[in-house]
Amino acid sequence: MTKRDSLLAYSSIQAFSYQRSPIMPQNNELSEDKVRPLIRQIFLEKPNYPFTKLHIQKILYKLKQNLSERYPDYPVFDVIPSYWYYEGPFSPPVNDAITAMVHSMELTARSNGRYKLADGAHFANKGLEPYIISELQSIVKPFNRPYFDKLGEDIYSDAPSEFMPLYKYRYLVPFRKLATRMRADPIHTDVLSQWEDALYTCERKVPRIAHFREFKTLFSSFVTEAVMVMDSARESWDYNLMKETYNVAGSIWKRFAEGIRIEDNAHDPPFTTELKSWRQIFDNRIKVLRFELDDFTSEVIEGVQFEEPIEYDEDTKQILSAVVKSYFSTEDFL
C-alpha cells in the first residue's frame, strides 16, 4: 500500500467513523482496528511493562506529535483524534480499543488500572508501516517512570494555552509532592516564593476569551488565598489548610481543562459536535467552583494568622493609592 493509498483509507475511515458521535464513534470497530495495531506494538516493544491507559494515550500522542513534525502532509494519525483534557490530550478511541483488547483477551487488566499482554498472547502485528514501528520503538523502549514524567512535559509544550504547562509543572505537580504529606518539615522559603511567582505568572496567562471571564476572576481569587496560605507556611505548616489548598488547586485545573477543550486549537475536528454540551458542562461547573472558592476563602480567614495591625510604609501607600484610584477613576462613583 502506498502512502497516498493509506492516507485515503484513513481519511475515509475517519469520515465514516465520526460522522455521528465523535465520543463514541458509530463504527467503533473500524477505528479500533486502526488503533489496535499501534497498541499491540507498544506492548510488543516492552512486553513486561504494565502500562496504564494514560501511558498509552501519551505514547500515541507523542507518536502523533513526532510524525506530524516529520510528515506534515501525511496526517495518518487522524484516526486517533484527541482533545485536551485533565491529563493532557485524550483520545476516546484509544481507551475504547484497550477495553476491546481486554474483552478479546489480548490484554489482561489488573486491579491497579494497569494492563499487560495476556499470557500466551503472541501475535504477529501486521499493517503498520516500518517508519511507524521505528518511531514507536524510539518512544517506548526507554519507558519508565521518570521518562513518563518527561514525556508528559514534552507533550505539554504542544498545549493549547501557555497556562497549562506553567500551572501544571511549575505549581500543581511540585505542590502535590509537599501538600499531601502528613508531617511537614519546614519548607524552604525559595520554594514558596517560586510557587507564588508561578501563580502570578499563571494569572496573566489565563486566556482572555469570553467564556473564560468568570474563570479568570475565580483563578485570581484562588491566587490571593493560596498565596496567603503559602505565606503562613513560612512559619508553620497547617496540614489541613495545605490539603484544602491542593484540593481547590486540583478543581481549578479540572475546570480549566473543561473550558479549554472548547477552543479550536484544543480539539480535533471530529469533536466540534460536542462543543455545545462541553460549554454547558463548563458553565455549570464554574458555578460550583465559585462556591468552592468561597468556602476556601472562609477557611483561609479562619486558619491563617495575620499580623495585627497591618502596617504600610510610604511607598506601599503610594502604590495602593494608585491601585485604588485606578478603580475609582473607572467607576462613576462621585
Binding site: Y200, E203, R204, R208, T217, S220, S221, V223, T224, V227, M228, D231, D294, T297, S298, V300, I301, E302, V304, F306, E307, E308, I310, Y312, D315, T316, K317, Q318, I319, L320, S321, A322, V323, V324, K325, S326, Y327, F328, S329, T330, E331, D332, F333, L334
Partner: protein, 254 residues
C-alpha cells in the same frame, strides 16, 4: 441611628488608600461607625469584588511591569517610553476598555509618585522588577488587611442561607420577584442587584430591623435626583441606602 451597616466593596476598598478624597471620606466614616459601635456587615459577593480591585491590577499591572522591565528604551523621556510600552502591551494582551483605563490611570499615578521613575533611572531591568515586586507585596498586604477585618470580627462576612434559623430565610419566589423589580431600577448591573439582595437576605436571616446599605456608587444606588435610592428603599423594606459622606444616618425614631 442604624446599629447595622452593610458595606459595599467600594467602601471597604476606599479605606485602603491614602491620597484621595475617597480615603478621607471612608476613613471618617470608619471612625464614626467605630465610635458609635455600629455593626459592620458585608457579603461574600462584595468581599470578592473588593479583592478583585487589587487582583485586577496585580494581573494587568504586574504583566505591564514585566513587559516594561524587558522594554527597549530609545529616549530619555520615561513617561513617553512607559506609555509606548503600554500601547504595545495592550495589543498583545487584548485588554478590555475598562482594563485599559485602569492600567492608564495606574501608570499615570505611579509615574507621578516618582517611585518608578527613580527605579528606572537607577537600573532599568532590576529597577522595574523590584518595583513590580513592591506592587505585588503591597497588594498582598492590602488583601490580607481585608481578610483581617473579617478575622478580627471588625466586619461580619455574610454568606447566603447561613442563618441557623431556616424560618427566616427568604423564599425563592420572593427573592426572584425582588430581583426583577430591582433590575428595573439598576438596569445595567446585575452585581449591584445581587448586593442589594444580599443585604435583604442578611436583614431577614439575622432579624435586623433596619439595615443601612453604605456605598460610594452614586450612579447605581442614588441615580438622578436620588430616584434610585427612593425606589430601592420602596422595594426592599428595611433597607436604607446611604453615602459614606452623609452625616450619621438617622432612623425615623431618631
Amino acid at each position: 441611628m442604624f446599629p447595622d451597616h452593610f458595606l459595599d466593596a467600594n467602601v471597604m476598598v476606599g479605606s485602603k488608600m491614602w491620597l484621595d478624597k475617597h480615603h478621607t471620606i471612608a476613613t471618617e466614616y470608619t471612625e464614626r461607625v467605630d465610635r458609635e459601635k455600629i455593626a459592620r456587615h458585608t457579603s461574600q459577593l462584595a468581599f470578592n469584588e473588593s479583592k478583585r480591585v487589587f487582583e485586577q491590577i496585580r494581573e494587568i499591572g504586574g504583566g505591564y511591569l514585566d513587559a516594561l522591565s524587558k522594554y527597549h528604551y530609545t529616549t530619555e523621556n520615561i513617561l513617553s517610553e512607559m506609555l509606548q510600552c503600554q500601547t504595545e502591551y495592550e495589543k498583545t494582551q487584548n485588554l478590555s476598555d475598562n482594563e485599559k483605563e485602569r492600567l492608564f490611570s495606574f501608570i499615570n499615578d505611579i509615574y507621578r509618585s516618582s517611585q518608578i521613575v527613580r527605579c528606572i533611572q537607577q537600573d532599568t531591568i532590576n529597577g522595574v522588577s523590584n518595583f513590580k515586586n513592591d506592587v505585588l507585596k503591597g497588594i498582598k498586604k492590602a488583601t490580607k488587611d481585608l481578610h483581617n477585618d473579617v478575622k478580627m470580627q471588625r466586619l461580619h462576612l455574610y454568606r447566603r442561607f447561613e442563618s441557623p434559623n431556616p424560618q427566616r430565610r427568604v423564599r425563592y419566589a420572593e427573592a426572584a420577584h425582588l430581583r426583577r423589580n430591582l433590575s428595573n431600577v439598576i438596569v445595567d448591573n446585575d452585581n449591584d442587584v445581587e448586593l442589594l439582595i444580599d443585604a435583604y437576605y442578611l436583614r431577614n436571616e439575622y432579624g435586623i430591623a433596619n439595615l443601612c446599605f453604605v456605598t460610594f456608587d452614586n450612579k447605581h444606588f442614588f441615580g438622578q435626583n436620588d430616584a434610585n435610592r427612593t425606589d430601592i428603599e420602596a422595594i426592599l423594606r428595611g433597607i436604607y441606602v446611604q453615602h459614606p459622606s452623609y452625616g450619621p444616618p438617622q432612623t425615623q425614631s431618631d
